[in-house]
């Protein structure tokens, strides 16, 4: 068996306030034989600097890639924003020699060099491409066949297609396939690929929350028992803000928002208390009863 060994790139949002994603992902990845090495001398992927300075974003992203190159390992991220940024910068700097030289002039100040010898993947891509769907299915001991859920990919795992490219941004299949591997049914709904609104928080909370509300309305329409996410920011938008949105717009949802590895973990027979379920804001007790976890 080939070993799947990666540098774990956590990013900023997950250690800041989305612990359940990390807890459940580490459990699930461990069971699937994925070995994680902690990222050295961390810095943010660079994405939050892009609006202020594209150059600074390129340098920070390249710094992470250069550190990974020194370790001789590919990067795995849980955050699609980090995956998208590192992938895009990796490809751009490999193709654009002048830009690479400019970035390397900066990295040299810190004794580093970007060579273009590593790769960055989101957990979902690792599951589908490196671990393989069959292995994921093999590990399911408690199929969640009673469960009908909906998925939300988030933008940066899909777009721009030119740089991300492993799924179809207009009709993505990977997350659906991975959800169905747990035995659950994944329902179609309106505007599935639409943005959660998180990046507009702080600039216009009103617009951001309306985007999230729109999504929750569509998910509610098809009677999904839960919404499955793979992005810490999308999760915050729906889970942390669901009650706020209900109050603000006089709606009732009660839709639990699960990180994908929480769903997969349940199907693998891992106990909910080991998967960070207590961290979730939306009440999951009905859902837990339905999957026989109470």
């Amino acid at each position: 068996m080939t070993t799947n060994k990666y540098l774990m790139f956590l990013g900023c949002a997950i250690p800041y306030r989305v612990a359940a994603f990390e807890v459940s992902a580490r459990k699930v990845l461990h069971k699937l034989g994925v070995e994680l090495v902690e990222m050295p001398e961390f810095n943010c992927c660079g994405l939050p600097l892009d609006p202020v300075s594209h150059e600074a974003m390129l340098i920070l992203a390249a710094r992470n890639l250069a550190l990974a190159e020194q370790k001789g390992l590919p990067i795995i991220t849980l955050c699609p924003g980090c995956a998208g940024t590192l992938k895009k910068v990796n490809q751009t700097l490999k193709e654009d020699r002048a830009l690479r030289e400019e970035v390397n002039r900066h990295l040299k100040e810190a004794g580093l060099e970007f060579k273009g010898t590593t790769d960055a993947k989101h957990m979902m891509q690792v599951l589908i491409e490196d671990v393989g769907l069959e292995k994921v299915k093999d590990m399911v001991v408690k199929p969640l066949t009673m469960l009908k859920v909906a998925e939300h990919n988030g933008c940066h795992i899909l777009r721009p297609k030119e740089y991300i490219g492993f799924d179809d941004p207009e009709d993505p299949k990977t997350l659906k396939t991975l959800i169905e591997a747990t035995g659950a049914t994944c329902l179609d709904y309106l505007d599935e690929t639409e943005c959660c609104g998180a990046p507009s928080v702080g600039v216009s909370d009103k617009v951001a929350l309306q985007l999230a509300r729109d999504k929750l309305n569509h998910v509610k329409t098809v009677n999904a028992r839960a919404l499955i996410t793979i992005c810490p920011f999308c999760h915050i938008m729906y889970d942390t803000n669901e009650l706020r949105i209900e109050k603000m717009f006089n709606e009732t949802y009660g839709i639990p928002i699960l990180h994908y590895p929480q769903l997969l973990g349940l199907a693998m027979g891992i106990k909910p208390e080991e998967l960070g379920f207590s961290e979730l804001k939306v009440n999951v007790s009905d859902l837990m009863r339905q999957v026989g976890e109470v």
């Binding site: 956590l10 900023c12 949002a13 250690p15 800041y16 306030r17 612990a19 990390e22 807890v23 580490r26 902690e38 990222m39 050295p40 001398e41 961390f42 810095n43 943010c44 939050p48 600097l49 892009d50 609006p51 202020v52 300075s53 594209h54 150059e55 600074a56 340098i59 920070l60 710094r63 830009l99 900066h106 990295l107 100040e109 810190a110 004794g111 580093l112 933008c155 940066h156 777009r159 721009p160 297609k161 941004p169 690929t193 639409e194 943005c195 609104g197 998180a198 990046p199 507009s200 928080v201 702080g202 600039v203 216009s204 009103k206 617009v207 951001a208 309306q210 985007l211 729109d214 960070g276």
Partner: protein, 174 residues
Amino acid sequence: MTRNESIKTSEIDSRFKYEISKMHGGEKLLRCFQCGTCTSDCPVAKFSDTYRPRQIIRMAQFGMKDNVLKSDTLWLCASCFTCTDRCPQDVEVASVIRVLRNLAAEQGIVPQVFKDQCTSIMESGYAYKIPETRLKKRESQGLPPLPKGNVESICKSLKGVGFVDHVEGRGKQK
């Protein structure tokens, strides 16, 4: 600007579109023929009364530099890249908007939320100040210690980029 306002030629920067076109991500600004796909598919435009990517692109092409760079709506883009993927002219609309934000930042125009993240990165390596309680909780959750950012190395790499001035508000004010 409203529909009935006229554009004053004295306020036009005729070189603005070329300035943008020279920047990484802005190269294809001139290809835009105003079909409006970006605005009609934009999730933010759906709920905002003011954010219209097509309009921002047009104003940039016209050379309405001050108008564009001082516009609050510039910062509403959620960077979802739907416009970029669907643009029939391959303009990379979201990247053009990012170029415009970078130019606004050079004038010291940056919303607080972005400033805070930049400051935090320079000080800790992380975009948010992660509280001590979170770090301690990791242990009880069976998580490994959080990697420490090498702030010295980060600052050395970013030396000469010159955006620190903007995030610390030392740039020209709006």
